[in-house]
Each structure stands twice: as C-alpha cells, then as structure tokens.
Amino acid sequence: MYGNLVVRPDDIENWGKKVHEEDPEKLAEFEARIDRGEKIEPHDWMPFEYRRQLIRLIEQHAHSEIIGALPEGTWITRAPNFRRKLALMAKVQDEVGHAQLLYSAAETLGKSREAMINDLLSGKSKYSNIFNYPAKTWADTAIIAWLVDAGAIINQTTNSKGSYGPYVRALERICWEESFHLKYGYDSVVHLATGTPRQRATLQDALNRWWRPLMHFFGPPDQQSIHTEKLVRWKVKLATNDEMRQQFLDMYVPKIWELGLTIPDPFLHKDPDTGKWIYTDPDWEEFWRVINGNGPCNKERLAVRRFAEENGRWVRDALRPKNAHYVTPLA
C-alpha cells in the first residue's frame, strides 16, 4: 500500500547538477531505450538521478508496506470472528511480504536493506503518510482494507508501467495480491453498512476520520518543474498526483454513496463540464506537519519497528553464517 512519490520543493532546488554532468551519448541511448518501451535492468548504465530517485521511490514504498501492516495488525487479536481474523492475518502477511519484495528490488540499485531500515528508523526516509493515523475501531480496518488499498492499487498499477525491470516485476505480483485485499475490504465494509444502526454509525465515523488522510494519499498537487518532467520522461513518475486522485474519486465516490454513507465534504461534486471532481482543500499544512514527524502515530510506528529489530537481533545473530559477505541481489 503506498501513495505517490512526492517531489518535495527542497528536492527540486538541490537537484539537477548531476543530470547535466552525465555522458550525453549514454544518456541519449538510455532515454531512447525508455522511449522504445524497453525496461532498464540493474546492471545497465543509468543516470545518477534516475538511480537516486528510484531508490527513494522503491524504498519509501517498502517502508510504507511494513509500517502499513501496523495499524491493521493492531486488530488481529480483536477481530470479530475467526474467519475475519484469518483473512486479516493473511492480508498483514501479504503487506510484510510486499515490503520484502520491494526492499529486494531497491537493493538491486545498490543500497543495502540494512541501510534502508536504518534510514527508516532514524526518520531520514519517509513512508506513506496515511499510516501515521490510528485505527480506532474494527470499522477502521475495513475502511483501510477497502479504500486505502484501493488507492494503493491505483498507484501501483500506474507505477507498474514504469521503466525499471525489478520494480515492475515486484509490482505485478503485488497488484495481483492486492486484489484479494480490496475484495476482503469491500466485503467487510458492506457487512457493516448492511448491519445494525450501531455498526453503520461506527463505519460512518471511521470514514469521517479517514477521508482527509485519503485525500492526502496521492500527495499534494505536483509542482510543475523541469525535474518532474524528467521523472516522467524516464518513466519513474507515470501520472500526476491529481490525476490519480481524480481516478480514485471517479471509481470510489459512487460506491461509497451506494452504501448510504456520507462523505465528510459537503462541497464534493463532479463538475459536469470538465468531468473533474471538485473538493474542499484537504489542508496540505496538516499533510506536511504529519510527514515531518508530528502526526498522531509517527512516534509509535517507529518505536514499534525499533522494538521489533532490537528484539529479533539475537535470533539473527545466532543464525548468521560465519564469513558471510554481501553481494547485491541480481534482480
């Protein structure tokens, strides 16, 4: 589960010099290969910035999967029945499995898994902002499994048309598994929506709390710049944040209304002339505040990851082979 790559304003300022130092002949060959629709493989020549941005993108995606398992994992011990518990465990295991696939894909670009996890734990690397919000009730897990995964599928299907072979291959597998999550989530939501008045009220309350994080999910409107153009040209970024947000609204607002739920934005409507959804500004100040570490659960999420790494250390140490040396995984 992951939102879109957010190109931050400070990145744009610090970026660019290296691009112009690349060997123009190799760069032209590289871009021609992408234009022909061919994939880039780990040992191919690639521009410094392509490698850097891809590591950042895939690493953030991996972190999002592993942190994203936490708000849902919270509810495994309190699932309402055995079948739901089994399904939730399977989903959480999938999310952790996706993190493994993605860390491996990022590793082929030359950054070790340990280095990525260190950067997650120190707060240097980011993960999807939405997982910094708490899952207060069982209905929250239903909304997460349906709508957060729906957003993730839109994003991941888009990214799976990208240019980097190992990432594309991981995403194909991930999208296939996410289709179960979406069905499971929708089933859980419909179960509550067709239940008692109290179940419906719990579901409505969960939707009210998750709507703004969902609107933040695809990231703020893109800054138009020569650098985002480069990422588009290199098929690292395949759709703007707004395009994906519109796609999400198009696909899911009618389904939410069909359940008789209210979306907590009285201004939300589709402009009949442009075919675009119009919505209340979802407070991007809050988005930046949370991404910079000050959301309701940022500290808890990282504390739990640190606890897991620290408590598993003795097992990893006991099993570690002597004389092991590191080789970058192949693909």
């Binding site: 493989e41 780990p42 040992h43 191919d44 020549w45 919270t74 011990t77 309190r78 295991q93 499995g97 493994q100 696939l101 491996s104 894909a105 590793e107 070790s112 898994r113 340990e114 996890i117 260190n118 734990l121 120190s122 708490p134 899952a135 207060k136 291959r169 991981a170 597998r173 598994e177 500290k299 808890e300 504390a303 739990v304 640190r306 606890f307 790494e309 620290e310 250390r313 990893r316 099993l319 570690r320 082979p321 092991a324 040396h325 590191y326 080789v327 970058t328 995984p329 192949l330 693909a331």
Partner: protein, 126 residues
C-alpha cells in the same frame, strides 16, 4: 507510550527504552535467488531474491514469500554469490556477428520453390 494497541501497552516500558537502532552490514543475512517451477513439465523461473542465513531456511522462507498463494510444484534457492551472469547491458553479445541463417529454420524458406521449379524433371521417364 500511550497507544490504542494493547500489545504495545504490554511491551512497555521496554519498548520506549529503545531509542536508537543501527543495523550493521549483513545484519539481515546474505541473499539467495529464488526459482519457482509452477507446473510439472514447465521450466523453473526466477522470481526474485530473499535474505536468509542458510540454504534450509532460504527454502522455508522462499515457500512463505514466493509460494504462499500461487501454484508451485518445486522451489529452488541459490546463493546470489554462486551465480555467474552476463549483464543485460552486454546484450549485443548475443547478436550474431555474421549471417547465421544456416542454423535457423528461416534459413530454409525456399526449399519448396526449388522443388516446384524442377518438378518436370521428377516425372518418371517413360
């Protein structure tokens, strides 16, 4: 830490005491490449890599990671460092330098034409 998660409450105060973690290189073990044979009669195909301390655990983890839902009749794991490979960047290695049509079926497209051309000669001499 005040959490909604009862497991986190139980892990306190140990949880909050851990304030910094730095994993050294190889903390998560070396990597293995994984191959899956999906059907009897099919080829084993490379599906990705994973981290494992030894070949036995690599197989167990590969089953969890790459065969927990999809069809699989056989799994292979190979230490990444045991694999010799050529780089995709050198794919021109595999482009024939000279005309090698003699080893391709397409090199034998005109056989029938020759037969048609000389058909008369094949008629029995009477």
């Amino acid at each position: 830490m005040n959490s909604l998660d009862p497991r986190i409450q139980r892990a306190e105060p140990r949880l909050s005491r851990i304030t910094e973690v730095q994993l050294p290189p190889l903390d998560h073990w070396p990597t293995y490449e994984v191959f899956v044979q999906r059907t009897r009669g099919g080829h084993a195909q490379h599906v990705g890599s994973l981290h494992a301390p030894d070949p036995d655990l690599a197989l167990i983890l590969a089953k969890e990671q790459y065969a927990r839902r999809s069809q699989c009749v056989s799994l292979w794991v190979v230490p990444t460092e045991a694999i010799l490979w050529t780089s995709a960047e050198d794919e021109d290695l595999f482009h024939p330098a000279t005309d090698k049509s003699y080893r391709e079926p397409q090199g034998y497209l005109h056989t029938r034409e020759r037969l048609e051309k000389y058909r008369d000669r094949l008629k029995p001499l009477s």
